[in-house]
């Protein structure tokens, strides 16, 4: 399918653009209901007619996709299969047919473009991820490859390299590469997990000036390792001080392989919700939609994928939405992972039994 919403700017708030999203959602819903028995079973009582009906859109719990394949199209139409990097337990899977894959790329390009991150200039790239030549089904590798396509490319270096058995982090080579890139006539864009970069800078006392046109585009989650100890603001200050990257050029990306919509930080460091999706904050007890500024569970809705029925799911993050006052979309505030309660007792929980 070719979403109608793509005719509009990524952060457009016009009634026409909103209406286009509604229509796309109706199309996606209809496609999956007819192509997927479980979706028909779960959504048969639901009617989507107007914008406000979106608030009542049922959802699938995202973890169902971790345990069961629910594709709505024949295998032969699947162009790309992506899995999440999976921090523990099962991995999520995303299937993209030709159109859906193209939609992902177009949407990403539009979002980055409107946030001022697309350029014709050539850049060097240091990617804290797996070489997509080898890890071609991993979402993060796919994302990095996509992100490097928004500018001209001089040299791309992947920090995780395959040694024949597994991917290993090439620390020494990475430091060497950073130093080389600092001397290059091209500016550098660093992509990938922030925790690795943080450790690299702190543990090796790195002090470089990569220049005012250099960028750090992080993703893959903020938590992890010693990064737990510092805030995102402090991290940006550290990167600025040690690598010479302007703070406004340090942008984080929040994305989920099942969803495919990029939530990218604007220059002010806020994740913006494009018109390609809706995020509904729900009360965790009643599941009723909550207004702006209220913390709850997050339902993610998108309308571009005809192959995988992940158009409406309840995620495992908690957060809230802040209404935007500028030309960009509403702000998505993420407040951490949810759904794995920190069990304080002596009773065994499912995850532990599986180990």
């Amino acid at each position: 399918m070719k979403p109608k919403v793509l005719k509009y700017k990524a952060f457009s708030k016009t009634p026409e653009a909103q209406q286009a999203f509604l229509k796309d959602l109706k199309t996606v819903l209809s496609l999956h209901r007819s192509g997927n028995e479980y979706i028909e079973y779960r959504f048969k009582k639901y009617e989507l007619k107007k914008q406000s009906d979106i608030l009542n859109l049922p959802f699938i719990h995202v973890n169902l996709f971790k345990f069961h394949s629910l594709q709505s199209c024949p295998d032969k139409e699947v162009e790309l299969r992506l899995t999440s990097s999976g921090t523990g337990g099962q991995k999520s899977q995303m299937l993209l047919d030709t159109d859906s894959l193209q939609n992902v790329k177009t949407m990403a390009y539009n979002v980055y473009d409107e946030l001022g991150m697309v350029s014709d200039k050539k850049y060097n790239y240091l990617c804290f991820t797996y070489d997509p030549e080898v890890a071609n089904d991993l979402g993060t590798a796919f994302t990095d490859e996509l992100l490097t396509s928004f500018t001209g490319k001089n040299e791309v270096f992947y920090t995780f390299q395959f040694n024949g058995n597994e991917f290993v982090f090439e620390k020494e080579k990475t430091i060497q590469k950073l130093k080389e890139f600092a001397q290059s006539k091209y500016s550098l864009r660093i992509l990938g997990f922030p925790a690795f970069l943080y450790d690299l800078i702190v543990q090796n006392d790195i002090q470089l000036d990569l220049g005012a046109d250099s960028w750090l585009m992080t993703g893959g989650g903020w938590k992890g390792r010693s990064l737990d100890e510092i805030s995102k603001v402090e991290f940006k200050e550290l990167v600025n001080k040690r690598l010479g990257i302007p703070k406004e050029n340090v942008r984080d990306l929040f994305g989920m392989v099942e969803h495919g919509i990029p939530y990218v930080e604007c220059a002010r460091g806020k994740f913006r919700i494009p018109n390609y999706s809706r995020v509904i904050v729900r009360d965790h007890k009643t599941l009723e939609p909550l207004g702006y500024g209220k913390v709850g569970l997050l339902q993610f809705i998108c309308a571009y994928n005809s192959s995988n029925p992940t158009f409406s799911y309840l995620g495992t993050d908690k957060g809230m939405i802040i209404e935007s006052s500028d030309e960009l979309g509403d702000e998505l505030v993420l407040l951490g992972r949810a759904g794995v309660s920190k069990h304080k007792g002596c009773a065994l929980k499912a995850l532990e039994l599986m180990k």
């Binding site: 719990h61 973890n63 169902l64 794995v340 009773a347 929980k349 499912a350 039994l353």
Partner: protein, 816 residues
């Protein structure tokens, strides 16, 4: 927070951690109160935490405000506290796990080992407790204190309310800081690796309750000299057979459901899965469970955002399985039943989420649970009695640690091992004293502890004054504590007044009484008592006498069936019971046995174990004739004050006995047996004059055979001459007079010696008796002419007099 007797604000700085460890090491070297004192302090806490007390109500109100559990559940939790601290319960637990609690104070005998044992604490124990309910932390602390370990408790950060009020109550119960000076309560965020790394290198043991991640973190780089006692996460489940299902009423389902609902499944003993026999209809079961869940008295607490999201995930997965025909579900307001066709054990999302699974056979069920052996804890078993054995054996083999009825999964019986192991035993190191038991050293130690002896400042065993019946009478318990150990354990008081009529009592600690029973049991086995013997205990019961009780206890250890009849059972009842149960062995007092035998000639008895009186020839004849007795065995040479001293085996003739050398030490002083107990510490027996004359027959190593020659106090002092009762007895027996009493009376200022016999003696016999006695009792013949002797002796034929107090017939009665 709190550190060894003082309030302490813990900010987990390196300096403070150092301080905590230094203070712990000091506390480790401090003296501990005795185990019974510890039990008493905890028991005081038990009283302070009775429902309705100030602390109980305050804690209930605080816990309700914290909103972790519902009011009813909080109340239920607090109601467990009193039991956790109770002396009775803790004593039961100590005995169950360590046998003799006194071994926590000093080297003592236990049933574990034929020698002395002492339990040494490990030192400093770091308790990492699960945060689900505070009861776990309290239970862990009690284990630490009972084993005299300095206890550093890491409190869950989610339990901030309870510790303060708990400490307040502890300060009231332990005014002198006897235990509080050994407790540190600290709190830090779980996973703070610096604190954990530091502490785990400084403590002696980590007692860890909780999840896998936490355990892994403590295991990592754990120094070899630090013991880790793991209580990792566990899963519990229930099993329901079709036959039981058909019989179960609503109350049964209510019990089943309580194992799921209590504490909202946060405890390891809560059922998370229910295995049903495959022929049970799921819908039928669901309806019954639904009714029970809806009736359950306590509502579920509000779930957190995380828990709700987990619940929604479970809903989604069950919806999908139901759609695919792989399961069914039923959702209630605060419960969630999910049937899944995958029979492999899995755990639920908790908070009243029950997974229902099916099994086809016992073997099939085993296959479903066995892969999770290391995680299995409790199984609530619902089956009919004929199924119990098969299921229980399979469950034990599969790794289940506890099997209970429905409704009892969360009630841990005191003394039952938690998590398949004995926690108290894990917290101590055992030292066995395999030294030759020196009765002298033991006696001197007792001299230090017992008020009467401690005043004497005795330095050598030989200087310990001889004790006798009079001393024991003077300082008898009930009147005096002079002979009692101030640190004695619980025990039994027996009357040991004897025939003199003056009251006298002695004290046995329960464990001493058990030990005595053990030794007696061994001696009975040695001489031929076998498990298939059916034994009637015909000693007199009650009156605070010891023989009936000790025989009963000893018999418990040997025979499969015993019959506690006592001495007052009417003969016709004895006859009926003997016939009904085929009783072949009796224990009793010879004279009373003879009385009974005369009234029950139809009875057949193979063996007679006797004590209290000698088994005279005439008694033997009666018993052989009336009951056809084949074997007469002494049930032991004993005195109530001392306990058993000797036993007989097949090598012993007449009154020969073998010394119970594991229990007593024997000295012979002026021909009299003087005994020192090697085990009695509650009321020690030190150089006690038994009043019995003995002669050593054989002695090698620990083996000592001796012959009882008669009473030392049966020295007859009359007409300015002295001779022994045995001089008379041997003559009487030689002349065929077996049943007699010598009565010394004073008539008109003249002493008369009367021979009271049960049969009329001819003049010829009377003369023979007198002539023979005169010939053997040299002191008389040297002092008086025969005529004098004859003139002052009388012969009577009356019933033999029994002691009113003991029922025994004494051969010598002095009425002067």
């Amino acid at each position: 927070m709190f550190l060894f007797g003082r309030d302490y604000i813990f900010n987990s700085s390196a300096k403070q951690l150092d301080e905590v460890i230094k203070a712990s090491q000091v506390a480790k070297t401090d003296e501990w109160p005795s185990i019974y004192r510890i039990l008493d302090i905890l028991d005081e806490l038990s009283r302070l935490w009775q429902p309705g007390t100030e602390y109980f109500e305050q804690a209930l109100s605080d816990l309700d405000s914290a909103e972790q559990f519902s009011h009813e559940m909080n109340k239920l939790s607090l109601m467990q506290l009193s039991g956790l601290f109770s002396k009775t319960e803790n004593l039961k637990r100590l005995k169950g796990e360590l046998d003799n609690p006194l071994a926590l104070d000093e080297f003592v005998r236990t049933k574990r080992f034929e020698g002395n044992l002492k339990y040494e604490p490990l030192g400093i124990v770091l308790h990492i407790t699960a945060g689900n309910i505070f009861l776990g932390a309290i239970d862990s602390l009690i284990s630490g204190l009972l084993t005299k370990n300095v206890s550093l408790i890491k409190l869950s950060q989610s339990n901030t309310v309870f510790p303060k009020i708990f400490l307040d109550s502890f300060k009231v119960a332990d005014k002198n800081n006897e235990l509080l000076s050994k407790i540190g309560l600290l709190s830090w965020k779980g996973g703070e690796s610096e604190i954990e790394t530091f502490l785990k290198t400084k403590v002696d043991c980590i007692l860890a309750w909780g999840g896998d991640e936490m355990l892994k973190s403590y295991k990592h780089d754990l120094p070899g000299n630090v013991k880790l006692i793991e209580h990792g996460p566990k899963v519990s489940f229930q099993v329901l057979t079709h036959k039981k299902f058909n019989q179960m009423k609503a109350s049964g389902f209510n019990k089943l459901v309580s194992d799921i609902c209590l504490w909202d499944q946060s405890a390891c003993a809560n059922a998370q899965a229910l295995y049903i026999e495959s022929s049970i209809e799921v819908n039928d079961l669901f309806l019954k469970l639904k009714a029970a869940f809806e009736q359950f008295e306590f509502s579920r607490r509000e779930l957190s955002l995380d828990e709700n999201l987990e619940k929604y995930e479970a809903f989604e997965l069950s919806e999908f399985r139901s759609f695919k025909g792989e399961g069914e579900y039923l959702r209630g307001n605060d419960f969630f039943l999910e049937f899944t066709s995958n029979s492999l054990l899995s755990s639920s999302t908790l908070n009243r989420h029950l997974l229902v699974k099916k099994f086809d056979s016992v073997a099939g069920l085993e296959i479903s649970i066995k892969p999770f052996k290391k995680f299995l804890q409790t199984c609530g078993l619902g089956c009919i009695p004929s199924e119990t054995k098969t299921f229980s054996n399979m469950l034990a083999n599969a790794g289940v640690k506890r099997i209970t009825d429905f409704g009892s999964m969360l009630k841990i019986s005191s003394g039952a091992p938690h998590d398949g192991s004995y926690n108290l035993a894990d917290l101590v190191q055992v030292c066995s004293q395999e030294l030759e038991q020196s009765p002298q050293a033991f006696a001197l130690k007792m001299c230090d502890e017992i008020p009467f002896y401690s005043k004497l400042k005795v330095l050598k065993f030989e200087d310990i004054p001889l004790a006798n019946s009079e001393l024991y009478q003077k300082y008898s318990p009930g009147k005096s504590s002079e002979l009692l150990n101030p640190n004695r354990a619980a025990g039994i008081i027996f009357s040991s007044g004897g025939t003199s009529g003056k009251p006298k009592y002695c004290f046995y600690e329960n464990t001493e009484f058990d030990l005595v029973a053990d030794e007696l049991a061994k001696s009975y086995e040695n001489i031929g008592l076998v498990s298939s013997d059916k034994v009637a205990n015909l000693f007199t019961a009650g009156n605070m006498w010891s023989s009936f009780s000790i025989i009963q206890k000893a018999l418990e250890r040997v025979v499969n069936e015993q019959f506690p009849m006592g001495a007052t059972l009417p003969a016709e009842e004895f006859i009926e019971l003997q016939e009904r149960f085929n009783i072949n062995v009796v224990f009793g007092l010879p004279s009373l046995l003879c009385d009974l035998a005369k009234l029950s000639p139809s009875v057949k008895i193979q063996k007679v174990f006797y004590a209290g009186e000698p088994m005279r020839k005439s008694y033997k004849e009666i018993l052989e004739k009336q009951w056809g007795v084949k074997q007469f065995i002494s049930a032991g040479y004993a005195s109530v004050d001392v306990g058993p001293i000797g036993y007989q085996d097949e090598t012993c003739e007449g009154s020969e006995h073998i010394l119970l050398s594991s229990l007593v030490h024997l000295e012979i002083i002026n021909g009299e047996a003087v005994v020192t107990s090697k085990v009695r510490r509650g009321m020690p027996v030190l150089r006690y004059q038994t009043g019995d004359r003995v002669k050593i027959i054989e002695k090698r190593d620990d083996f000592l055979k001796f012959e009882l020659l008669g009473r030392a106090d049966s020295l007859i002092n009359i007409w300015s001459s002295r001779f022994y009762l045995s001089d008379i007895t041997s003559v009487m027996e030689r002349l065929g007079v077996d049943q007699f009493q010598i009565i010394l009376e004073s008539t008109n200022s003249e002493d008369i010696l009367s021979f009271n016999t049960t049969t009329e003696l001819s003049e010829v016999i009377q003369n023979k008796i007198l002539l023979n006695i005169y010939a053997s009792a040299k002191d008389i013949s040297h002092t008086h002419p025969f005529e004098y002797f004859k003139k002052h002796c009388k012969f009577k034929c009356l019933d033999l007099k029994r002691s009113e107090k003991t029922g025994k017939i004494s051969n010598l009665i002095d009425l002067r």
